[in-house]
Structure formats: structure tokens, C-alpha cells
Symmetry: none
Subunit: 214 residues, 4 copies
Amino acid sequence: MPKVTENYKKEKVDKIVKATIEVLKIKPLYDITMLDIIKTAGLSKGGIYLYFKDIDELLIEAINRIGREQDLIELSSVRDDDRIESSLALLFEELGNYIDSCPAIIGKIRFELMTYISNNPEKADTIMSKLQLNNVGAHFMENVALLIQKGMDQNIFDKEIPMEIIMNNVSAYIDGISDRIVSSKVYGGKPLQRPTREYFQQFVHSQILLLKNK
Amino acid sequence: MPKVTENYKKEKVDKIVKATIEVLKIKPLYDITMLDIIKTAGLSKGGIYLYFKDIDELLIEAINRIGREQDLIELSSVRDDDRIESSLALLFEELGNYIDSCPAIIGKIRFELMTYISNNPEKADTIMSKLQLNNVGAHFMENVALLIQKGMDQNIFDKEIPMEIIMNNVSAYIDGISDRIVSSKVYGGKPLQRPTREYFQQFVHSQILLLKNK
Amino acid sequence: MPKVTENYKKEKVDKIVKATIEVLKIKPLYDITMLDIIKTAGLSKGGIYLYFKDIDELLIEAINRIGREQDLIELSSVRDDDRIESSLALLFEELGNYIDSCPAIIGKIRFELMTYISNNPEKADTIMSKLQLNNVGAHFMENVALLIQKGMDQNIFDKEIPMEIIMNNVSAYIDGISDRIVSSKVYGGKPLQRPTREYFQQFVHSQILLLKNK
Amino acid sequence: MPKVTENYKKEKVDKIVKATIEVLKIKPLYDITMLDIIKTAGLSKGGIYLYFKDIDELLIEAINRIGREQDLIELSSVRDDDRIESSLALLFEELGNYIDSCPAIIGKIRFELMTYISNNPEKADTIMSKLQLNNVGAHFMENVALLIQKGMDQNIFDKEIPMEIIMNNVSAYIDGISDRIVSSKVYGGKPLQRPTREYFQQFVHSQILLLKNK
DNA sequence: CATGAATGAGCCTTCATTCAT
DNA sequence: TATGAATGAAGGCTCATTCAT
């Protein structure tokens, strides 16, 4: 097959990446072989190397693709004139909805990547620098920090608790909830009984809003 | 002389399991080979199969052993005459200390197990039903639930928030903090800046004690 | 318009062969891949097969080309009226200079070809019969033989030593020196400390001129 | 197969090394695959790795074995009271006989090693430091140098020619002769018509002994 | 019971060559 | 004539497991 449209190539890459994502859904990262992908994509053993230099490059691309698609979902940004409390509540509500709408694979990857990298520490830099995950989360945490700081400045929230502790607790809690969801969606764990939003509501009310100065 | 033989066997199994735990501490679950264990245990390649039918059986046993040994550490139980608020605070303090003192491997296993199982979904039942991790956690959660319920009954806490949501948030938060610690102890992540206890203090005060009826 | 086509083909072949020679200069014969050549020649993967049936055919052609081009350099021929001793000395001096000025690739090929052929003994005849290296050497040896014979006829040299032995020793020595130079130019060996000419001087004086009847 | 005599293992290693040498005889170094050796030795794919960690280790061992076996042949050492001329002649005679008796493979290896290493420069140090070839040659050259120096000191030989040039010419010549023999024994070249000794005789007489002060 | 030699499926990757376009 | 995508054999090596002793 000779010179082929740019599109053909793109579609081929697309097909391979999609196949890789399919495999990622049903196998743990570390256990994925080229053959898995080759079979799923319907390629010949050598063919895949026309599009990806090695298995790492392919996995990274697939993971990034997953991340990139997810990041299309944007959280609303905080506006200055909003009330702090309602802004916080909204932010968490959106995050809750976002997490619920997230494909299971997102969390699966986040989960598996850690062990994968720890096993190949020499690859850690290469892989990590090429991965572009977690933008939504970063954006969310920034906004939360902003709002809490503002609340403290305005004496709405208690100034005595160190910011670092609060932010850490917030993100630990979110991680915990996320893992729970991954666990149920991907690994057959017991599912949450309500939409994530509702758990967040309780959290934001007692945990954050009640930081209020008494 | 069956008794002697029985004993001999037990000791042998014990030695193997202990070796496996040593390996678990330094390698990711999925990367452990029979040779790792054999070398650590000072066994012969064939010998291990006299005591364990395959590598899975051995890993499961080792993981369970870790869980069981951990449970020897007991949290103090709640006594009836203690004040609810201080009991809760104490419980969390103990848990914080417990987590800090926990061997990294506990969390490491919890983390890696999930992906391991997903790889052998057919084994999930066998493994999971045999796995008995997290008993400390279970005991802790029971006591927390007890105290909160009691607080609600005594109208100290707000009755309107469903128990299920609260307990879920509590355990999600604890999981999140635990993962963070595992991540730093085992996988080279950024460590928490303070003892776990301090994060818990903030959490228990705002999240739980402020459930108080206003 | 067969002529134009004929010419076009020739130029194409020429381009490919030249590219192959470039590759030969920097890679061991056995390690050269079609891709190396294709890239150097700026060709398409399939295109090369329009001009050469396989990689062997191409390599042979390239090696022959090297040999042919080298032969353009001419050693001065011996003239009848020259004195035998000074003719011999001159011949060797020229050869020394020639060897020093020789592109490293000549020796490299001589070296690598032997092993390459031994790998495809069935191709040995085809390749060897097509290979025309060493014409300079042949010409040189002829002249040396001529001069020595002449010297013997004139009773200047010792007649008792068989010509065959002398010529063999001369060419063995030259091969040895050549290999040494290849070894240093191409394979990173320790270089000779002086120009080749000086080693030859010593050789020709003691080895050949002293064949003189005592 | 359980615990096995030390001898069994030795014999196995021996068998493998011998198989490797067989392969070395008929294939160029760079083209030898584990499968070649495995088949020749009648092993299973994995079995060979019980005895050799990788193909390099095995090849090195085989090459060293060849060298070691060869080195059992000792050249006589020069004694102080011998006449210089006859000592030199004897030395060369012995070397000639040695070379003739040398298995073809010795030279083949010497030949192929150079290109092999040049292709894997990163392996050069590892391999070379582990190779123990050429002891006979080294010993020979030492003795020749000794004798010539002695001859110069005693004004038997011409002092004006730098030792470095002489020694270089001697060893270049020997290399050239050796290659010729390899070429005929291994690569199908035209064989020498006489025992090597005779060529050496001519060389030593004209080239070295005639260093004599005239 | 114990040993450890042996097996062979499986992994990633390269490359000469073919062939549809 | 030209292209370059596709193929698949082959290469080095690892590892769980078996089984003769």
C-alpha cells in the first residue's frame, strides 16, 4: 500500500490508541502486552511499530488521550462577586457530577500508574513528564484554595487552622471518594448508594463552611 | 508421628510466608517471582510447591498474614461513661498514631491488590473472600458509628444527615489520607508535613463535632 | 525512448551504490540494513528492489565499485633502465604513500568481506568472482616480482631462495601492515607511530635488498 | 533432575562450550544465535541460561577455551648461553610449526572479533577484558625483542634502525602470514604451498639476521 | 520429602521483502 | 515507475512449573 492520505495514518493511529484503551479497560497496565493490543487492533506483529516506537510510547499516548478527552469537561470558574459559601458549594457540586460522569478507566489508570512507575523507576521521569493527567483536579483545588483564603481574609472562616492542613484534608477526602468510585466501577467493589454530589454536600457543609468563625 | 510432621510443615509454611512478606515489602505485587521468594526463603525451586500449589495461593496467604498480624494492635474501646466529643477525638488520635506507626506494607498491599485482582477476575472471589485486611479499620469505623449514633440520639448531633453519608465520608477521608501516606512511604511521593494526628484533629473538629445541633 | 530510460536507470543505480558506499564507511558490513541505505539514498523502501534484487546484490556491487575506483590511482611503472635497487625502494615508497592515502574503507571491506562470505558459503563464488579488489596490489606485486627476478638473473640477488617464498613473504608483510592501518583507522586500534613509508624502508632494505649475493 | 554431581554440571558446560565452538567454526561470530548453539548442544531454549547468563558470556567462554587449549603449546624459552642467531631461527621455526598446527578457528576468531567488537563498542571493554587470547604471540614477541636488543647491545645487529620499526615489521609480517593461513583454512583461499616454517626461515634470515652490522 | 535441571510458552522488537495502490 | 504500509520470521531472554533422581 503506497502513499496514503494523512487521514489514513491518523485513523490508523486512532484505531490503535482506541484498541489500547480497550485493553486498558480490561487489563492492568503492567500486564498489557503488545500482542493484546495487536490482536485488539487487528494488526500484524510488526505493523504496530510503524505507528509507535515502543509499548511505552503507545501506553502513554493512550493514557494521555483518556486524560485529554476528560479535560474537555470544564469546571466553572469562580467569579469575584459570588458569595463564598455558595461558590464553594457549587464547585463541589460540579466536581461531584464530574466524577460521576468520569469513565471508570480514568481512575483505574490513576491507580495503576503509581505501581507501574514504582516498578520501573528508571522510566518514571520519561513517562511522568509525558503524561498530562489530572488537570481538572488541579483547577478545582486552586479554586477551592482561593475561596478559602478569601473567606479567611474576610474573617468568614477561622484563621487559626493552617491552610496546608485544610487543603490536604480536602484533597485526601476527594481522593478517597474517587478511589471508592473506581473501586466499585472497575474492580467490582460495593458502589456508593447516592450520587457523589450528595456526599460532597455533606462534606462541604460541615467540613468547610463550618470553618466559620464561631 | 503425625504431630511432629504437622509441626514441621507449619514451620516450613511459616518460613515461606515470612519470606514472601519480605519480598512484598520491596517489590510490587505483580512483579514478584517465585525466584524472589525462593531466594529469600532459602528454598529449592521445587520445594515451594510442596506447600503451596501455585504462586497465587502463596501471595494470598502472605497478604492475609499481614492483615492478621496487624490486627494484634488494638484501639481502645469506647466506654459508656466517656463524653462523646472527647471519645471521638481520642479515637481519631489513636487512629492517626496507628497509621503513622503502620508498616508501609499494609497500605502498599491494599493499593496493589486491587489491580492484581482485576487481572484475574476469576480469582477475585477466592482471593477476596480469603482476604481479611482492614480489621482495625472495621473496628474503628464501628466505634465511630456508635458514637455518632449516640450523639444523634442524645440530640448532640444533627439528626438530619443520613448516617450512611457521614460514615462513608469519614472512611473515604481516612482512605485518602492513608493512600497519601502509602504514596510517600512506598512510592516516593511527597510526604505529609505533620503527623497524621494533626490532620485528623482538624477533620474531626470541623467535620464531625460540628455536626452539633446549632 | 529506450536510451533516456537506460540513462535514468544508470543514474539511479549510481545513486544507490554511492549511498551504499557511504554506509559501508560507517557500519560493519554485516550490520548494514536496507533502511540504512534507503535513508542515505533518499529512496523509498520498495524502490530499491527495482534496481537490485536483494541486499546482497547491492552490497557486492558497492564493494566492486570501491575496488574499481581505487584502481584509478596508478603506481609508476618500472622502467628498464632504472637501477634495480632504487626501483624497488621507489616502488615501496610509493606503495607506502598510497596506503597512507587510501580511504579507510578499502581495508575495512577487505577485512569484513571475508567473514561475510563465510556466512553465505553458497554465495562465495558469486561474490568472489565478481569482486575485483586489490588491483593496485596486483600491479605492485607484479613489478616487485619483475625486479627481483631481474636482480636474480643479473646475479645481484641470491638465486637460491625460491621466488614463491619471497613473493609470499612480501605480500604477507604488506597485508600485515595494511591490516594494522585498517585496525587503527577503522576499528580504533593503536595507530602506527610513523608514516607507512618508513616501515617499508626498513623492510625493503633488510628483506629484499639484502637478498644480495654475499 | 535433582542435585547433580559437580561433574554433571561441568560436563554440561563443557558440552555447551563445545557446541558453541562447533558453531563458531561454521558461522561468523556476529551471526551466531542462541538457537544455533541450543540446537547443536541439544538443549531447550531456556536450558542454556542455566549455565550461561547471556550469549556474550557464552561466546567469550568459548573463545577463551579455544585460546586456552592452544596455549598449552609452549614455545621454548630463550636461554642465555644460546647464540643469538640460532635462537632467533629456532624461535621462528617453532612459531611456524605452531601456526601450522593451530586449528583454523583460532585465526577465524581473531579475525571476526575485531569487526564484532567494532559493532558493539559498548561491549568492547567487557568483552576484551574477559578475553585471554594471544598469549603465545605475546610470549613470542617478547623473546624476539629480547634477542634483537641483545644482538644490538653486542654490536651483532645494526643499532641504527629503531627497535619500534623492527618489532612492528616482524609482527605485521607474522599477522600477514597468519591471515593467509586463516584465509585458506577457513575461508577457502589459496593455501600456502609449503609449511609456514619455510617462509619464516627466509624472513628471519634476510629480515632479521641481516640486520647484522655490515 | 527435597532438589534443581529442564521445559517451553511468551515477551518485545527488528528487518528484508512483498504488493496494493 | 514509485511508494511505503504491511507482514511474519527470527532473535535474546524470563519464569512458573514439572519431574527424575
